[in-house]
Amino acid sequence: MQRTDPPKNGHDAPLPHGLDEVKIGLARMLKGGVIMDVTTVEQAKIAEDAGACAVMALERVPSDIRKEGGVARMAAIEVIARIQEAVTIPVMAKARIGHFIEARVLETLGVDFIDESEVLTPADPENHIEKRAFKVPFVCGATCLDEALRRVGEGAAMLRTKGEAGTGNIIEAVRHLRLIQKQIRELSVTPSEERMSRAKELRAPYHLVEYVAQHGKLPVPNFAAGGVATPADAALVMALGAEAVFVGSGIFGSTSPQKTAAAIVKATAQWNDPAVIAQACRETGGAMKGLTMESIPEAERLAKRGW
């Protein structure tokens, strides 16, 4: 049978046990879009006007958390509630890793998605939130396939890379996207009798290892996050198989947020058309300065939080 471009994530296969079509459905509706970190109502409106498909309500953008230090927690309720009032697109918010009470509070507020995020200071040294118990969907970061499948096993409805937040440096997001795809390719040629052993090595739930081996894709969408600072960065991660893009400090840390936001939306929608990306690059404001990975001590790397 002739095949056109096969869909990447999960549409053609029944969902594995424990996954929820309504939660994953919203992740699918966000595909091809840009989700922007915002800290004020004004920023949320700029994001919506620029074509963002959702906003992430935060107290501080990751680059400021990095600079200022201290314990980073769930945003103030007032900030989230005001942003929910100001825009009609979905509003997401972050909870600390393992902090299921912050998550319950965010669910009660009616946020549309919770990011259990390594950008905030982790609350539990061992456990992530048991996400299946919630009605609100969760997105979690993953650096590799096994981490991705552990989070899906806990009930995450969307994955994202753990690109080094607040750096304006795309290298880690690219590393995670490439690694996950390489591991999916390897698994899809692993014969069935070797998959249990592979699940043991990966430390990942067997039924999800089976799913990936059979379908050659993750059961939930995987977006790029961390380090996206320019329209070209956004197009790069899309070309590498990310299905949408989170942009944190890259927009409101740039010299002209309106222009940068609109240009990143444009480049994400037409990531395979270099002429459109060139135009978007021309229209953008100056990008944030950024940090190289070498300048960040191991202990301060956010991707190391969670497992």
């Binding site: 079509e21 309504v22 620029a50 609100v136 969907p137 939306v265």
Partner: protein, 235 residues
């Protein structure tokens, strides 16, 4: 008309599951060609059927204007050469303006309220009652026979879904959802000449009936009097 050529608007939203459904219809010989991902005006050439997917309606409208697709879609639909099927955000865009963002295309004589059930925690799935009239080809909806079969069940997934708050006289209801005992069922899928609009996501289930019905009815010229001004490029 030969076999239809169908595509999906792929600017933002849940386009891939629609492409997968259309690929199945190509595989069984219903479509003339593999489904087309529509991102630019030139992608519309030769296309007879286009799906506007779910996603964020404000984002999709922004991108339709940015890439100069809005006027092209409307012109092709009005000329009777392009049938349109909007799901969720796509359905919102096909309807009439209600004073909220985004500006609507105003092609369908109906008005949809956005996020009418609430936020994501209020999203749900439900069994629907679906009645697809037998296609006669080329006819106006009102001349179409009453359905040839009893209503059948269809699994509907509603994600931050809109709701039809007004439906014009020339618009036919094809699927409904039971709300509460004693209340009349609410419309969730409607058709007009050359148009189909639903508030749920048939592309997320493996049931091909609605997609098949859409692509096997040829595009039609909307009747005179249903021509509403299209939204200007500014929202």
């Amino acid at each position: 008309m030969g076999l239809p050529t169908a595509g999906v608007l792929c600017l933002q939203g849940s386009s891939e599951p629609h492409l997968a459904r259309l690929a199945e219809l190509h595989a069984d010989g219903t479509l003339a060609a593999p489904p087309r991902a529509v991102r630019q005006r030139r992608d519309l050439d030769g296309l007879t059927h286009l799906i506007l997917p779910g996603g964020e309606s404000t984002t999709i409208r922004h991108l339709l204007d940015l890439f100069e697709l809005t006027d092209e879609l409307v012109a092709r639909h009005r000329a009777g050469t392009l049938a349109l099927f909007g799901t969720c955000a796509g359905a919102i865009l096909l309807g009439q303006d209600d004073g909220t963002r985004p500006r609507r295309l105003g092609l369908l004589d109906a008005t949809l309220a956005r996020n009418a059930y609430g936020r994501q925690v209020d999203s749900f799935s439900a069994e629907l009652s679906l009645e697809l009239p037998a296609a006669r080809g080329g006819g106006d909806d009102r001349r179409e026979s009453a359905s040839t079969a009893e209503p059948t069940a269809f699994h509907g997934v509603f994600i931050r879904a809109p709701r039809f708050v007004r439906i014009g006289a020339g618009v036919r209801v094809l699927a409904t959802r039971a709300v509460e005992p004693g209340k009349s069922a609410e419309p969730v899928l409607v058709a007009a000449p050359g148009l189909l609009a639903g508030t749920f996501h048939p592309e997320l289930t493996r049931d091909l009936r609605i997609h098949r019905w859409f692509v096997t009815r040829p595009p039609e010229t909307p009747p005179a009097g249903s021509r509403h001004p299209i939204g200007a490029a500014t929202a």
